[in-house]
Structures are given as structure tokens and as C-alpha cells.
Amino acid sequence: MKTILIVDDEGEMVESLKRFIERKAAANVLTAQNPKEAVKVYQENKPIAAFIDLHLGDASGVDVLKDIKQMDPAVKVYLFTGDQSFADKNSPESLGAVGYIIKPVVPQQLIAIIEEL
């Protein structure tokens, strides 16, 4: 079973996502709510992919992305964002990500992405 990491500063959302994905996509979901926790969880579990929100309170999801990429350049990272225009202006590749997932997410699309990993 594949393991993935979800990083978002909103606890309730992270828990919902975890429940939903574990039920629908047969994946093991790890969660983190801030950059420090994210790096720690990643180091300990080495998931195959990370889904990181661009806004983590005062911190930026892009920084978490870079930290994780440093540890494992092969990891697949997706960025959650609500900012369509940011997504338009910055290609995910330029940041080291596979792609954006625009909030609010469409549940079926999210499952599809995870199953293809």
C-alpha cells in the first residue's frame, strides 16, 4: 500500500482528507500541519508523494516542498492552492512540483490523481 503525506494548516480539513482518501484510494495517509512537522513526518516515513498547501499560516508551502525535495529529489509533490492566478503565472515545474490542485478540490479528481501515483 502506498503512503502519501498531506500538509495543510487546517486540522479539520486534513482529517477529512485523510478519512476520504484512505477509504476511496487504498492509500496510507500521513498528515502534518506545519513545515517542521511535515519535514519530520517525511523523514520518518518516506512517503511516495506529498500534497502541500501553498498557505501554511505564516509559512509557505513552497519552502516545505524545497526541504522535502532536498531529502529526496524523486518525491512527487502536488500543491494545493485557491489562487488560480498564482497557478497561471507560476508553472508547477518551475517550483519542483508535479502539478496544482485548485481549491476547492473536486473529490473524484483527487482520488484519480492518487490512484495514478
Binding site: 480539513m13 478519512r19 476520504f20 489562487d83 488560480q84 481549491k103 476547492p104 473536486v106 473529490p107 473524484q108
Partner: protein, 728 residues
């Protein structure tokens, strides 16, 4: 039969006068100085009454008792006058005041004892009453008396020299009054020393008491020149003119009586009637003549000020107005400086806005709302002289300018600002009249200032929207709120997905149960629909938010200067915004973009303009449905808004037409005016208004905007924009 002579009449007048003064003092004054001054007057009254009794005793018997009584007054006079001076000035030594009281008590005891130390004997003076001859103690008493009185007046004079404004005037009254009173009263001592000058001087003492009372009680004093000229006019008009018939009767009796017999009195009665009628007229004439001459300068500037004040309301720029006000005041009133402080609500201060002092003025002064002076002006609501300010406020003023008068300006109980006036160049004090003029002036100025503030606030508000500021309403909201909204929507979406997953799983795992139970199947299918509906609605809402954000981002796109763009696209953004504003899914906008819908301009501003014009068009159709159509007409009415684009080589013409309520004939000329609205209040304020659209099109884009309208039929707005490099 008591004899009325100069001494008794003088004493009686003095007594009555001083008792009246005491009453006035105690009624109008509540300060310590009022009580001490009342005691002084009481001592004068005691002396006066004693003198009156001495006077009417005649020469039958020696009035020892009344001489003892009247000297109680004499002993205490210098003490109380010194104490009053102590309270009015800072120059009097407290120890000397105490010494004054001690010596008075000592002399009082000796005076009341049956000795000849004070009074040796009595002699008849002016063949009409007994006057005392003096004992050994009297001369030292007299010397001390003179020294104490002199000391009090020297102190007052010293204070007078260094003081300004009202205080100065007040002390001047005191000095003039004292000069009159004490020199008059002094003549009594001369008789004691056997220099028999009739005590006419006693009549000056009441003048003294009245003048000083006036100086103590009345804060805002009449110019002393005015007071004296009025007294002179009074003396000339009444006693003089009315004295003529008496004099006439007295001198002409020997001539008239033989001629007219017992009807001789007719002549001077007629004269009496004549002069009695003439006197008030004469008094008024004299008074006006004198004051016009004396106060010519003051009258001139008061008139000028009021004229200038009425002109102020034409000034529209606040800085200019502030400068104008201080310039006029300083020039016209001829004062050392004038400064104006105006409300700066943003920083909660009154800030020095303009100062005119004939010298450097590169300093900044501000008073916080909580400053004692500001609080004081807010409650007193009238011009105030520096001396009238309570001590604690004077101590709180740490400013590089010293003002004589502060004049507050109010509109609707709001303190808009205040003006400080410096000392007059000729050192004359400010008078009550002055302050009244300033009050009127301040009211006019307040109106003018308020008008300027109003225009400025309005201008700022317009500019903000006009320049599509980054901190503007929509842009500011969009950034912060959109992120929050999207996160909430995300939560909905995931929860919807969860619900969907739960139901699907249940169906997959329990095929038999469902097959057996059709109603359960129906329920589960309903749950699925609900879950999908949640997810679909979330996406729809997200699109709305995106539309709003697009609009806002276009608006706040500061980088964008002039460019060529498609107006159809911009119109669609504006349309999406309007759907959100009016909470409807469809606005009946028909786009007729022709072959080419490119326009040249500043994209966010054109978008704002379109937004406003389409908004107005929509509201015109809405108004028509709500208020202008009868029920049966509503069925056949179909709201229509058209955006039509026409091009030629030099310009793009955009026409936005509606079949709404139209514009009434009387409203048409006002349509482009600021603040004009026909919308009900709950809707007004949502757009930037036709006024700003006009400015955007004409001032920024060098274009033209106009409209055609027919009441109840509809309106068409035309915007004509020059193409790149072209001119209209």
C-alpha cells in the same frame, strides 16, 4: 431738625453706594477676592455712616460716639485694600498683609478705649459740625495708613506694567479708581490736621468703589476710555442740563417774582420739561460721538472682518482658506500674530494649519483631542481671553506662541478648529465687542471650513475609486476573503466527497440488502444526489469567487496603463460582478460587438465605467418593473440591456442602452453632478457614480460621454473613445 451738610450728604451717599457694591459683589462673585473686597466696602460704609451721623449731629453736642464708630472703618480700610491687592497680584508680600491685620487690631483696641490717645478733643468746622482734634497716637497711625495704602498701589502698578490683555485693563481700572478714591478720602485727614478744606473728595470714593468692583467682577471689561467717556457724557447731559432750570430759578427769582407774581415758577418748570426731554438725546449724541472717535479703529476693523467673513465661503481649498483667515485677521485687527488650528480627525489632533506672524513660522504645533485647552473650548463654545483660562490650562500650554484670545469654530457642536490671536500692535486690550465680532467671524469661518473639508473628503473618496487604488474596497476585500472562502469551500467539497464515498461503499458492500429493500435503495440514491449537489454547488460558488477576484484584480492592476483590449471580455467581467451584486443568475445583457470590439484605454477604469453603466441600466429596468408598470403591462415587458460597439479609424463608440424607466426631464441636467442619485438609499453608494465615469472617460481617456433618454421608454449612454494615436 438734622442738618444736611456736605459731610453728612457725602457720608450718606458713600454708605448707600458701598452697601450696593457689597450686594453686587456677593451676588456676582464667589471668589475670595469678592469677600475681601466686600469687607473693604463695609469698612468704607461704616466710615460713611459714621460721617453721616457726625454731619447731622450739628453743633449742639459733641458726637464722640459716631467719631469712634466711623474710625473703625478708617482703621480697617488699608488692611482690606492691601489684602485685595494681594489676591489680585503676585507682588504683595504676605508678611506685610499679616502685619497690616496685626496693626489694625492694635489700633482698634486703643481707639475704642476711652483715652485721648486717638482723639484729643473736638472743634466746630465750617460752622456746621464737630471735627475731632488728634491725639499722640494718631500721627503714627496716619503714617502707617498711608504707607500700607501706598504699598498696595505700588504693587498693583508693578503688576500692571508687566501684564497684558484683560488683566491689564482690570488693573488699570483699579489704579484709576484708587487714585480718585484715596485722594478724595485723603482730604478728610487734612481737616484733622487743621487744614480746613471742605471734604468734596468724599464724593469720589463711591466712584472708586464702583470702578474697582467692576474691574473685579467683570472679566471682559469695557475699554476704560469708553467707560470714562460715557461717564463724562452722562455728567454733561443730565446733571448739567437739568441743573440749568434750578440755577435759572435760583438766580432769576428776584427778577421774575416782581414780573409774574406767584406764577413765576411756570418759567423754570417749562425749562425743566424742555431740558428733561433734551437730556437723553444729548446723552446719546455725546456718547456716540465720543465713542466713534475713540473706537474709530476698532469699528473699522470689526466692519472689515465681517465683510471678509462673508467672502470666505467662496474659498474651496482648505489650505488657501486657512491662510486667508489668518492673513485677514492679522492685517485687519493689527495684531502680532494669528494662527489657525484645524481638526485632523485621522490623528485625533488639532493641527496648526496656518500662521501669520510676520516672521518665521516653520514650527509644528498640535493639540490632542484630550488636551485641556481643547476640552475647555469644546465646553465653553465661545471666544476666550488668555487670562480667563483656568490656571491648570494655562500651565498646560507649552507652545512657542503666546496668544491673547482663542476663538473656537463650531458647526453642529463639532469643534472644527480654533484661531489664536496675538497681542494688538498698539497694546490695547481686546474688548467685549471684539470678542462678539470674533464669535460671528468664527461662525462664518466654520461654515467655510466645513465646506472645504466636505469637498476635500469627497474628492479623496472619489480619487480612491478613480485611480482604482490597490487599497481600494474591492481589491482589499478580495485578497483576504477569497482565501478564506476557498478553504471553507474546500472543506465542503471534501465532506461532500466523503458522504458520496460512504454511500457508494455501502451500496457496493450490501447488494442483497438493497435489492430486498426498494425504499432503502431510493434513500441511498437521494443521499448520493445530495452529495453530488454539494460538490457541484461548491464548484459553482468557487467560480463566482473567481469572477469577483478577477474583477478586483483587473481593477487593482496598477501596472496597466493604456492598452488595446476587447471590450466584450471586460463587459463580461463587469456582468459577472453585477450578477453577484444583485444576486441573480441572469442579467439580460445582449452583446453586439460588431466585427471588432477593441478599445484603447486603461482596462480597469473602462471596466469600472462599464460596470456602473450596466448597473444603472439594470436598475432602470428593475425600477420600471417595480414602480412604473401596471400589473397587466408587466407580463409583456421584457427587460433588455444592449452593449453595442461601433468602430471607425479614429474612435470606438460604445453604446449601452436599456428599455428601463428612463430619466425624468428635470433630472437630466444633474445626472453628471457629484452626489446625484435617484436610487433609494440602500442601493446608493455601491457604484462610483456617473460623475466619476464622466471623469474617467473625459479627463483620463480624452473621450466623450453623453446620453439620450426618454422617460418610461429607456436610456442610452454613449462612450466615445479615441483609438491609439487618434484624437476626437
Amino acid at each position: 431738625m438734622p442738618k444736611l451738610n456736605l459731610f453728612s450728604v457725602g457720608g450718606l451717599v458713600l454708605t448707600i453706594c458701598c452697601l450696593a457694591v457689597i450686594a453686587v459683589n456677593l451676588i456676582f462673585g464667589r471668589k475670595k477676592v469678592n469677600y475681601i473686597w466686600s469687607l473693604f466696602n463695609l469698612s468704607v460704609a461704616i466710615w460713611g455712616f459714621g460721617a453721616f451721623m457726625v454731619g447731622i449731629s450739628g453743633i449742639q453736642q459733641q458726637p464722640w460716639f459716631w467719631w469712634k464708630i466711623n474710625h473703625i472703618g478708617v482703621i480697617w480700610m488699608p488692611v482690606f485694600v492691601l489684602h485685595t491687592a494681594y489676591l489680585l497680584t503676585t507682588k504683595v508680600n504676605k508678611k506685610i498683609v499679616i502685619f497690616g491685620y496685626v496693626q489694625a487690631v492694635c489700633f482698634q483696641i486703643v481707639e475704642l478705649l476711652p483715652t485721648t490717645l486717638f482723639f484729643e478733643n473736638m472743634r466746630v468746622v465750617f460752622s456746621s459740625f464737630y471735627y475731632v482734634t488728634l491725639g499722640y497716637l494718631y500721627t503714627p497711625f496716619f503714617i502707617l495708613w498711608v504707607l500700607l495704602v501706598a504699598y498696595a498701589h505700588i504693587c498693583i502698578f508693578q503688576e500692571f506694567i508687566v501684564s497684558t490683555g484683560m488683566k491689564r485693563l482690570s488693573l488699570l481700572y483699579f489704579l484709576i479708581g484708587s487714585g480718585l478714591g484715596f485722594s478724595g478720602g485723603f482730604t478728610n485727614f487734612l481737616i484733622g490736621y487743621k487744614i480746613d478744606i471742605p471734604p468734596y473728595g468724599n464724593f469720589t470714593i463711591p466712584i472708586y468703589c464702583i470702578l474697582v468692583t467692576y474691574a473685579i467682577i467683570k472679566y471682559r471689561l469695557m475699554d476704560v476710555r469708553v467707560a470714562i467717556s460715557r461717564a463724562a457724557a452722562f455728567l454733561l447731559a443730565y446733571p448739567f442740563l437739568l441743573g440749568i432750570p434750578f440755577f435759572f430759578a435760583y438766580r432769576m427769582y428776584p427778577v421774575l417774582f416782581p414780573m409774574l407774581g406767584d406764577k413765576w415758577w411756570l418759567i423754570h418748570t417749562c425749562l425743566m420739561a424742555f431740558f428733561a426731554t433734551l437730556s437723553p438725546l444729548a446723552f446719546n449724541q455725546l456718547k456716540h460721538r465720543m465713542e466713534d472717535t475713540l473706537l474709530a479703529d476698532q469699528r473699522r476693523y470689526q466692519k472689515l472682518l465681517l465683510e471678509a467673513a462673508s467672502g470666505m465661503v467662496n474659498e474651496r481649498n482648505l489650505n488657501h482658506l486657512a491662510k486667508l483667515i489668518v492673513y485677514i485677521i492679522r492685517k485687519v485687527v493689527k495684531i502680532k500674530f494669528a494662527a489657525i488650528f484645524l481638526d485632523d480627525a485621522e490623528h485625533q489632533v488639532y493641527r496648526l494649519k496656518a500662521i501669520r506672524n510676520g516672521g518665521s513660522n516653520d514650527f509644528e504645533i498640535k493639540f490632542f483631542y484630550t488636551h485641556p485647552l481643547v476640552k475647555f473650548l469644546k465646553t465653553s463654545e465661545k471666544p476666550i481671553a488668555y487670562e480667563e483660562l483656568p490656571q491648570n490650562i494655562r500651565n498646560s500650554l507649552h507652545i512657542p506662541i503666546k496668544f491673547d484670545v482663542a476663538v473656537p469654530s463650531f458647526v453642529d457642536n463639532n469643534l472644527l478648529g480654533f484661531v489664536f490671536l496675538g497681542e494688538k500692535l498698539n497694546s490695547h486690550p481686546y474688548t467685549h465687542d471684539d470678542l462678539m465680532v470674533f464669535k460671528t467671524l468664527s461662525h462664518q469661518a466654520a461654515l467655510a471650513i466645513n465646506y472645504c473639508l466636505f469637498l476635500e473628503t469627497f474628492k479623496n473618496a472619489q480619487e480612491k475609486i478613480f485611480t482604482a487604488d490597490k487599497q481600494g474596497l474591492i481589491g482589499g476585500m478580495a485578497d483576504g476573503v477569497a482565501h478564506q472562502i476557498r478553504n471553507r469551500l474546500n472543506q465542503f467539497s471534501i465532506s461532500g466527497g466523503e458522504l458520496q464515498g460512504e454511500v457508494e461503499d455501502f451500496i457496493a458492500k450490501n447488494p442483497e440488502l438493497i435489492a430486498q429493500n426498494p425504499s432503502l435503495k431510493q434513500n441511498l440514491e437521494d443521499y448520493l444526489k445530495i452529495a453530488l449537489s454539494i460538490i457541484a454547488n461548491v464548484q459553482h460558488t468557487a467560480n463566482t469567487v473567481n469572477g469577483m477576484l478577477n474583477f478586483a484584480q483587473k481593477l487593482e492592476d496598477k501596472e496597466s496603463g493604456f492598452s488595446d483590449f476587447h471590450i466584450g471580455e471586460i463587459g463580461t467581467y463587469a456582468l459577472n460582478m453585477l450578477k453577484i451584486k444583485h444576486q441573480i443568475s441572469e442579467i439580460p445583457l445582449e452583446l453586439d460587438l460588431g466585427k471588432d470590439d477593441t478599445v484603447y484605454g486603461i482596462q480597469p477604469q473602462i471596466m469600472e465605467s462599464l460596470y456602473n453603466l450596466i448597473d444603472n441600466a439594470y436598475e432602470a429596468t428593475d425600477e420600471k418593473i417595480r414602480y412604473r408598470l401596471k400589473d397587466e403591462e408587466k407580463k409583456n415587458y421584457k427587460p433588455q440591456i444592449k452593449l453595442k460597439v461601433n468602430q471607425n479609424e479614429t474612435y470606438t463608440l460604445v453604446a449601452i442602452s436599456d428599455n428601463g424607466a428612463g430619466i425624468k426631464e428635470q433630472d437630466r441636467s444633474k445626472l453628471f453632478a457629484p452626489f446625484f442619485t435617484t436610487k433609494s438609499s440602500y442601493k446608493s453608494g455601491t457604484g462610483i457614480g456617473i460623475y466619476t465615469v464622466k471623469r474617467i472617460i473625459e479627463e483620463v481617456h480624452s473621450g466623450k460621454i453623453w446620453f439620450e433618454s426618454e422617460y418610461l421608454k429607456g436610456t442610452t449612454f454613449y462612450i466615445k473613445l479615441p483609438k491609439r494615436g487618434a484624437k476626437l
